[in-house]
């Protein structure tokens, strides 16, 4: 078996899309000064609502929309606690993770009357999109074509977020809120509105991430199916310094390492060590970012101190 071949890169691209979407959502929150640890819960809420939407409507589009809606509702609850009630965002985020884990498992029992996982063979997953012209090109075609629409949306969202932050007035205001909330408020910016806007947008992005999880590869929901992806998204966001292009880069790094760790299992290495690879590489990568650490604190990311 080749170590690096085409399917390696396609699987990497597929794996990073939920992480990328959620990390972009997290970056939006970080840029308005709210550190969102609840990404894991938001993705899980999206994944579950998408399956509920799919089961009752039978339409994939409705399912994705319901997934986004479910995640937005949870993120509004987070916003209510963090903005309106001035709760510590880190504490509220951890609470959201727990709440959603409980709610979705409870929902499995209450709605579908199953435990652990829900699967229905009549449910339809996300379609694979073949892009007409690119599909024909030999290597690039296989790499870029034939993914679910949400994979393309993930990368598109990164570019759009970049344009939003650095080329639009509202984006500039969002950045201002993150740099210095008090100063932004004194200039008459509607800080609270911008913060709620960012949180709703984060909910939508995480909802899409969840929909990709539950409708992408296999169409089913399992208890706690996010399996730490929300935290990885958090890491990708911080590694990318809450900069959209940086996040695309760090998510790509993470996806490649994840794919590599699966591939290396074929080479008689203990699976635990190959599975460690993405985390160790990420820690190493953080050493190289140390000089820009001070900058990231200015950009509204909460430091550990």
């Amino acid at each position: 078996m080749e170590l690096l071949d085409l399917s390696f890169f396609t699987s990497a691209i597929r794996m990073i899309s939920p992480i990328l979407l959620a990390a972009l959502g997290g970056a939006l929150c970080a840029r308005v000064g709210i550190f969102n640890v609840g990404l894991e819960g938001l993705i899980l809420a999206g994944a579950f609502s998408a399956i509920v939407g799919n089961y009752y409507s039978g339409s994939v589009l409705v399912a994705v929309l319901v997934g986004a809606l479910g995640s937005v509702l949870v993120s509004l609850l987070f916003g209510l606690a963090a903005i309106r009630l001035k709760a510590n965002p880190i504490v509220a985020g951890i609470a959201i993770n727990f709440l959603v884990l409980g709610l979705t498992t409870f929902g499995l029992r209450a709605i579908f009357d199953v435990k652990g996982a829900f699967y229905d063979k009549n449910m339809e997953g996300l379609p694979k999109l073949d892009i007409p012209v690119i599909e024909g090109i030999p290597v690039v075609g296989k790499l870029l074509s034939g993914h679910s629409p949400l994979v393309y949306i993930a990368f598109l969202a990164g570019i759009l977020l970049y344009i939003f932050f650095y080329r639009t007035v509202t984006g500039f205001r969002v950045l201002a809120v993150g740099k210095n909330e008090a100063a932004a408020r004194s200039l008459g910016l509607k800080v609270t509105v911008l913060q709620y806007g960012a949180i709703v947008a984060c909910g939508i992005l995480c909802g899409l991430a969840g929909a990709q999880l539950s409708l992408g590869q296999v169409t089913m929901f399992t208890e706690g199916m996010t399996a730490g992806r929300g935290f990885i998204a958090l890491v990708a966001m911080m590694l990318g310094q809450s900069h959209p292009i940086g996040i695309v880069g760090s998510s790509l790094l993470f996806g490649l390492m994840d794919a590599l760790s699966i591939r290396l299992q074929g080479f008689s290495m203990p699976t635990q060590f190959t599975a460690m690879l993405p985390y160790i590489i990420t820690i190493i990568a953080m050493f190289f970012l140390k000089d820009r650490g001070a900058d990231s604190q200015l950009s509204g990311q909460q430091s550990s101190r």
């Binding site: 009630l85 001035k86 609470a95 409980g102 409870f106 985390y279 101190r305």
Partner: protein, 358 residues
């Protein structure tokens, strides 16, 4: 006057968590009525499951033991103003090191037990110190590094018990170590009950930590660093030293949590036995609930453990699913730092002032 102020302060610090508990229970009530069960009856069954008889009380305390220790460890870090998210990895490494020490250190039972306790503490502490060192030396943000090190620690412990140190004697090839010699076990507190000596260790540690943080200069330095790092530095506190010490003890106590689980109830390290029940996150919630007060953390940990054991009893005896407990927990934590009651308090106070002026 002074006493009255102190009493007011105590009341004020209690109003916040109590409101959160109330909102949590109300949400639980809504969820229970959704599945069509009687709210009061279900809560009664839940209470019985946690405190119904002596056996259930000891089961609750046994479950609370690792949660208290994790919470105490995190409380130290939080007091120093560092957000240690790595309790899970520190606990697991502590547990596996303790199991290996108890298995392979030669000597009598008591030596094995002591060396296991030391090994567990050191493993957790050093793992946590690694993150602290990366923060102080290289400015690698501790919040992320501790999170990432969790995965590395859990996977490494999994490797140790699935390959070099696996117990292959049983019929099923589980990922676990051999069983520890009975002489090295932590004794049970009551015959046939699950609560063990670890619970006493946890409570004693809570009291010691409370005294250290409250009354000693080392505790003052830790608290000062958390309140205002710039002032602490200005006041001549060695920021790096205090941070590293806090991280070492924070991780060490988390390691101890894993150790007492191994020595007191599992008698071996079984993969997933510490991560699946989510001790680390529950401990984190206990520390948050109590605002990092060591004694409060112990109380909060017992309460959360009771919620979990109660929910298990509820699932055995009613149709209501176990997950109600995590819903209640989530809501409880969500509102625990919210400033709902503060408003209420201010309004009341203002009304009192007007009354006084008139």
């Amino acid at each position: 006057m002074n006493l009255q102020r102190k009493l007011q302060q105590l009341l004020r610090s209690l109003v916040q968590p109590l409101t959160a508990v109330l909102i949590g229970l109300l949400t639980g009530a809504v969820a229970i009525s959704i599945v069509g069960a009687s709210v009061l009856e279900t809560y009664k069954v839940m209470w019985d499951g946690a405190f119904g008889n002596f056996y259930f009380v000891t089961a609750t305390l046994a479950r609370a033991t690792p949660i208290i220790l994790i919470g105490l460890g995190l409380a130290i870090a939080f007091r120093a103003g560092v957000f240690n998210m790595g309790a899970e990895g520190q606990m697991v490494l502590g547990a596996v090191s303790a199991a290996l020490a108890a298995l392979y250190v030669p000597g009598s039972g008591i030596i094995k037990m002591l060396s296991a306790l030391v090994a567990g503490f050191l493993a957790g502490g050093l793992w946590s110190l690694l993150a602290g060192w990366m923060e102080t030396r290289f400015k690698v943000q501790l919040l992320i590094s501790t999170l990432l090190l969790n995965y590395v620690a859990v996977l490494f412990a999994g490797y140790l018990v699935s390959s070099p140190f696996q117990d292959k004697s049983g019929s099923a090839a589980l990922a676990q170590t051999h069983m520890i010699d009975q002489a090295a076990w932590l004794p049970k507190l009551f015959q046939g009950m699950s609560v063990h000596m670890g619970f006493v260790i946890a409570i004693v540690l809570a009291i010691i930590l409370y005294i250290i943080l409250r009354f000693t200069s080392a505790g003052y330095e830790v608290r000062m660093l958390g309140y205002n790092p710039f002032f602490a530095e200005y006041g001549g506190i060695n920021k790096i030293k205090v941070l590293l010490f806090s991280m070492f003890f924070s991780g060490g106590i988390a390691g101890l949590a894993g150790t007492v689980e191994v020595l007191g109830s599992q008698y071996r390290y079984v993969e997933g036995s510490l991560t699946v029940p989510g001790y680390a996150w529950t401990g984190l919630m206990a520390a948050l609930l109590a605002n990092s007060n060591p004694l409060g953390t112990a109380v909060a940990a017992i309460m959360l453990a009771a919620l979990q054991t109660g929910a298990m009893g509820m699932e055995r005896n009613t149709e209501v699913p176990l997950e109600i407990a995590s819903v209640i927990q989530g809501v409880l934590i969500l509102f625990v730092t919210a400033k709902i009651t503060m408003n209420w308090w201010k309004v009341k106070k203002k009304a009192g002032d007007i009354h006084g002026a008139a």
